[in-house]
């Protein structure tokens, strides 16, 4: 199956106060039509920057992005608009994702207008997308402004705005992390139902492995701007190969009061990254560190069909 979205060797280097910060290094990924891919990692691992580059909100320092067979790395003007109509974003913070001055109707009309969808279709499209995100009857919501809605309702509107242009790919950057736990499942289900019935591909960005397991078939684990492991979600969680993935899995809370949990297998924090970028970036926190880790950076290698890991541990499983 040909990939819908494919990225090769994405890099992003920020310059701040004369220092170079490698936010994303050599990230390659692909999303097939209708597939859900998750990117997990802690704050600052480059997952959001990766998503922003894929959506052309951030210019990559190097690398190539293909969408539906076309190179969109440097697309602009008409081509970029055409790409935007097919790749949409769901924001992390629904309270800030809608123009506070615009009514819901106007926020939903904005993409229709920009993507040159005939005015005669607008009303139908708005009503059908509002039904899809379960804000019915549409008329009772459309003339309100964002401050009149709750977080969950706002996120449904944000989702509606993303779906209204009929995209093939939805990028959801921490779509429920700002919401009350009670409304999270509702949003995720709306998102999943929309994907199922429209055959949408999705890219979920999250720090929450539990969420990723709930919605994604494939998962990528990032650490300090690099992919450390990738593979089918179920396998990756049941048999994590990379020590960092093992730590992430071990950190997922379990709903049991009397739990016998071992301490996390890793120590330290992101800021303990070795100052010397040669070698493995995880070596200062790794429980299985070897002399080789300080000299040679591990590259992604295939350990099973569809599973890749960047670690020197032999058969790291």
């Amino acid at each position: 199956m040909t990939a819908l979205l494919q990225a090769e060797g994405l890099q992003k280097t920020f310059h701040s106060r004369g220092r170079e910060v490698h936010a994303v290094q050599n990230v390659s990924l692909s999303v097939s039509p209708g597939e859900a891919l998750g990117i997990v990692g802690e704050s600052g691992c480059g997952k959001t920057t990766t998503a922003r580059m894929l959506l052309r909100l951030e210019e990559p320092s190097a690398g190539r992005i293909m969408f539906d067979g076309a190179d969109i790395t440097n697309a602009h003007g008409r081509h970029l608009i055409a790409y935007r109509a097919r790749a949409q974003l769901v924001f992390q913070n629904p309270f800030d994702a809608l123009n506070p001055r615009f009514t819901i109707r106007r926020s939903l009309t904005e993409p229709l207008r920009n993507f040159a969808i005939p005015v005669s279709e607008h009303q139908d499209r708005i009503e059908s997308v509002m039904r899809r995100v379960r804000l019915v009857p549409a008329e009772s919501w459309l003339d309100r402004r964002p401050h009149e809605l709750s977080g969950g309702q706002l996120q449904r509107v944000v989702l509606a705005r993303a779906l209204i242009s009929g995209p093939s790919l939805i990028v959801a950057d921490e779509p429920v992390s700002m919401l009350d736990v009670s409304v999270r499942a509702g949003i995720l289900n709306v998102l999943r139902d929309a994907r199922d019935s429209l055959g949408l591909a999705a890219l979920y960005i999250s720090h929450d492995l539990a969420l990723i397991r709930y919605v994604c078939e494939q998962t990528i684990v990032m650490y300090l701007g690099r992919i450390v492991e990738q593979g089918p979600t179920a396998e990756l969680i049941s048999r994590p190969a990379h020590p960092y993935t093992r730590a992430l899995v071990a950190a997922v809370p379990v709903a049991r009061v009397e739990q016998n949990r071992e301490g996390l297998p890793i120590r330290g924090s992101l800021s303990d990254a070795p100052p010397d970028p040669s070698g493995c970036l995880f070596r200062n926190r790794c429980p299985s560190v070897m002399p080789r880790c300080a000299t040679e950076a591990p590259t992604l290698r295939t350990i099973a069909p569809g599973r890749m890991v960047a670690c020197h541990l032999e058969g790291a499983m």
Binding site: F95, N99, P100, N114
Partner: protein
Amino acid sequence: MLYWTRECPSVRSASRVLRFLRHEPFAVAGGAIYFVIVVVAVFADELAPYDPRAILKLGSRIARYQPISAQHWLGTNSSGRDVLSQVIWGTRSALEVGLTAAIAVVAIGTVLGLLSGYLGGWVDRVITWLADIVLGLPFLPFMLVLAALTHPGTGIVVFSVAALLWPNTARVIRAQVLSLRERAWVEAARVTGCSTTRIMFVHVLPQVLPLAALYGSVAIGWAILAEASASFLGFGDPTAISWGVMLQEAYANQALSRGAWNWFAPPGAAIMAMVLAGFLISRGSERLLFPKLADQ
């Protein structure tokens, strides 16, 4: 969680406006002064007891130096013209100069501030550099040199105010835009296919307009002061009926040594009232725009 949408200046309801009126007597007073001035300017024809340009006669002699009386509520000046009628007609030129200059200042300042803040890069550097230079220019000498080189008149006054006052507006708008452009809904506008122009003028501009209007109200006062100074120094339009020209005539005819306060006090008070109104309004709306400042 909702604080930034609730306190956003754009979200204004009728009740909020009413509350504002009750809590901001200064702004209400400022608005009232503007209202009176506008009414007087509109109905100047009806309100003025005499033609402000007419040289009035008393029998066969020119009615100059008349004290305050029932016929001339504010007396007449040295050329036999009715002072009250001139003050009333002066509102027109004051509003004309004030509004034109304010609109120009707000338009230039807002557009440049918007471009500078949103586009960044070299556009920002050029505009900031220009603003720094202009802020260094002294106002009165600039206007006088300009008037001396061309022909004196209200056009020069308006131009000078617009050319020298835009940086104040532009700086504030730029700062505001710098923070707005980081908001997720601006990014959302990009993702939903808005062009840069559309984001700037349809999404961001409405958010900064109240702030721009605030600077406009200050510019009105500035323009009127500038017009008065220019006229007083003889660089205004000598045929215009304006408060500044009245002050100049009073000065040229030794109003002070004659004790003819009725020549200069009324136009002076009118100028003060109008500048004050701008200040009061800006002070009041500052609280509306930046509610957090009021708490401190």
